[in-house]
């Protein structure tokens, strides 16, 4: 477990519901400043709900969400973005009929458009030369990999301290997956904390410092990436390395 001395995000016994459906059940996470933390789990286990709870799209029924030590669970989404949390949404979710540049502008929506905007734009263009080439193109016409670069760039334009990524490798070709994970590491090395939901567990654990495993809305396992990689249950369930004889 992270020692909590320099925590950026903490969930304390968070419970969320969709109608009658109890999604997150007494979930607690601790994300340290500067970490890459990966959230693993099967379908419908509460991974996306975790991301939505951080962004304020889903509100917990009980429990606390702390960012930089302050409770944020009752704040509107815009206030959370202003405090320094930015999302990379599942399936990228660019604004399809706006240009690449306009999408990046939307990422900086809560920030004044001054010198810092220009700096952030330069930083994104330096990370993704392809995004700069395509800046006048309509976002919906880009390939999936290019869209993912814009989606990450858009999050960076908020100058966030924490980026929440929901399935950054989904639907990408292996070449782009490698690139995206490289970039995530670079962004992290530049000082941004990453909390990442990812189906591709082996990739996620190869760059993460720590991880949590969610099962039907509960944290069933957590540890360093190395511990998780070496855990037999994880290897079987998520890394596909052990085949149980006789299993279908």
């Amino acid at each position: 477990m992270h020692d909590g001395g320099d925590t950026i995000l903490r969930f304390e016994d968070v419970n969320t519901y969709y109608g009658d459906l109890h999604v997150l059940k007494n979930v607690s996470y601790t994300i340290g400043r500067g970490e890459i933390v990966s959230l693993l789990g099967g379908n419908a286990c509460g991974k996306s709900t975790t991301m939505k709870t951080i962004m304020g799209v889903v509100r917990p029924v009980s429990g606390r969400v702390l960012f930089d030590g302050a409770e944020i669970q009752d704040l509107p989404t815009s206030a959370r973005v202003r405090r320094g949390i930015a999302p990379v949404l599942e399936a990228r979710r660019l604004f399809p009929r706006m240009t690449v540049y306009e999408n990046l502008e939307m990422g900086a929506y809560t920030r004044p458009k001054g010198a810092e905007f220009a700096q952030d734009l330069d930083r994104v263009y330096a990370l993704f030369p392809r995004v700069q080439e395509r800046r006048r193109q309509i976002a919906g016409t880009l390939s999936g990999g290019e869209q993912q670069m814009v989606a990450i760039g858009r999050a960076l334009m908020a100058r966030p301290r924490l980026i929440c990524m929901d399935e950054p490798s989904m639907g990408l070709s292996p070449l782009y997956v490698e690139q995206v994970f490289d970039i995530i590491q670079q962004i992290n090395a530049q000082g941004t904390t990453i909390f990442m939901v990812e189906q591709n567990a082996s990739m996620a654990l190869s760059i993460a410092h720590r991880g949590y495993v969610l099962q039907t809305g509960q944290v069933v396992l957590s540890g360093t990436a190395k511990q998780l990689r070496e855990n037999p249950a994880i290897r079987e369930a998520y890394l596909g390395e052990l085949q149980v004889p006789g299993a279908a």
């Binding site: 962004m55 799209v57 949404l89 979710r93 604004f95 502008e105 939307m106």
Partner: protein, 309 residues
């Protein structure tokens, strides 16, 4: 007048009607683009707008067709009338959204749409009860200046209507394309949840859409009065239905589509009315609508609903 001159005259008339319908259609399209809500109160916000315009002109001592203004007084009176009307109807639209529709925002089903129909009837009856059932003479302070275009007559008021409508539509286009709030509107229309996660305050965006749409309906109501020289509590239904049809024809949710749809409906009404008979104008307009929807369900310029990838 030759047949061609008659045709030309109806093009002139049709463009004026089209300007009026286009401004109305924009209000339907802005709100639908963001909320997927057909706002029927828009019909009578337009009608109330024409009465606010009438009242404003009366404050300048204008009542019938007798008083003619020129030069600066004319420009000042018109500017004031448009400004007062648009601010007032914009405020009415914001009030409807804030107090009557926002509480229903997360209610599934037709509750919000039914509410807009109810609001429409309330506005209708408020004007009937306070102003009365008879048509009111709408002042026209423009000098009776006219130009010959071939054998057709182009009056100063048509030119004014075109200029005002064009300026308003250019201003709206600039707002939506270039300003921060306008971009937030487009983003919200394309993916409301993603826009919210960029930090967009969606309530503010929705309020802006209602304000702009209703302000344009007010301008349209003023244009109605200038064009027909009367107003009445009854005018909302016919004009509103044409504005709505224009929005659907162009592709509801699509801003240039609403403008195009408005001009087409205006031209069809004027030219069809001349060539086939005024009584047939509605039949032709709605036949075109049905045909377009059968073959292009998303309208001429497309985009039915916010698209989510």
């Amino acid at each position: 007048m030759t047949t061609f001159d008659l045709f030309l005259q109806q093009v002139i008339n049709g463009l004026s009607l089209g300007a009026m319908y286009a401004l109305l259609a924009l209000g339907f399209t802005l709100v639908y683009g963001i909320l997927e809500l057909i706002n029927f109160s828009h019909f009578n916000v337009f009608m109330v707008g024409s009465f606010i315009a009438l009242w404003t002109l009366q404050q300048f001592g204008l009542s019938g067709q007798e008083t003619i203004l020129v030069g600066l007084p004319l420009a000042g009176v018109l500017l004031a009338a448009f400004a007062v009307t648009m601010l007032a109807t914009g405020a009415i639209g914001v009030g409807i959204e804030r107090f009557l529709l926002r509480p229903l925002r997360n209610v599934k089903g037709p509750a919000a749409m039914i509410t807009t129909i109810g609001v429409s009837y309330i506005l209708f009856n408020l004007i009937l009860l306070t102003v009365g059932a008879d048509s009111k003479n709408f002042p026209n302070p423009l000098p009776p200046l006219a130009f010959a275009v071939g054998g057709a007559v182009l009056r100063l008021r048509e030119v004014l209507i075109w200029i005002v409508a064009t300026l308003l539509m250019l201003a709206l286009t600039f707002f939506v394309q270039r300003t921060k709030l306008g971009k937030a509107m487009r983003a919200t229309a394309q993916d409301p949840e993603a826009a919210r996660m960029m930090g967009v305050e969606v309530d503010r965006v929705i309020m802006t859409a209602f304000f702009l749409g209703s302000a344009l309906a007010g301008a349209s109501g003023l244009i109605f009065g200038l064009y027909y020289n009367f107003t009445s509590y009854l005018i909302g239904f016919n004009a509103g239905l044409r504005g709505f049809t224009a929005a659907v024809l162009g592709g509801i949710g699509n801003v240039p589509g609403a403008m195009l749809g408005g001009v087409i409906i205006g031209l069809v009404e004027a030219i069809g009315g001349q060539l086939i008979g005024t009584a047939w104008a509605d039949v032709i307009i709605f036949a075109i609508l049905v045909l377009v929807l059968v073959f292009r369900p998303a309208g001429l310029l497309g985009r039915l609903a916010p698209d989510r990838s």
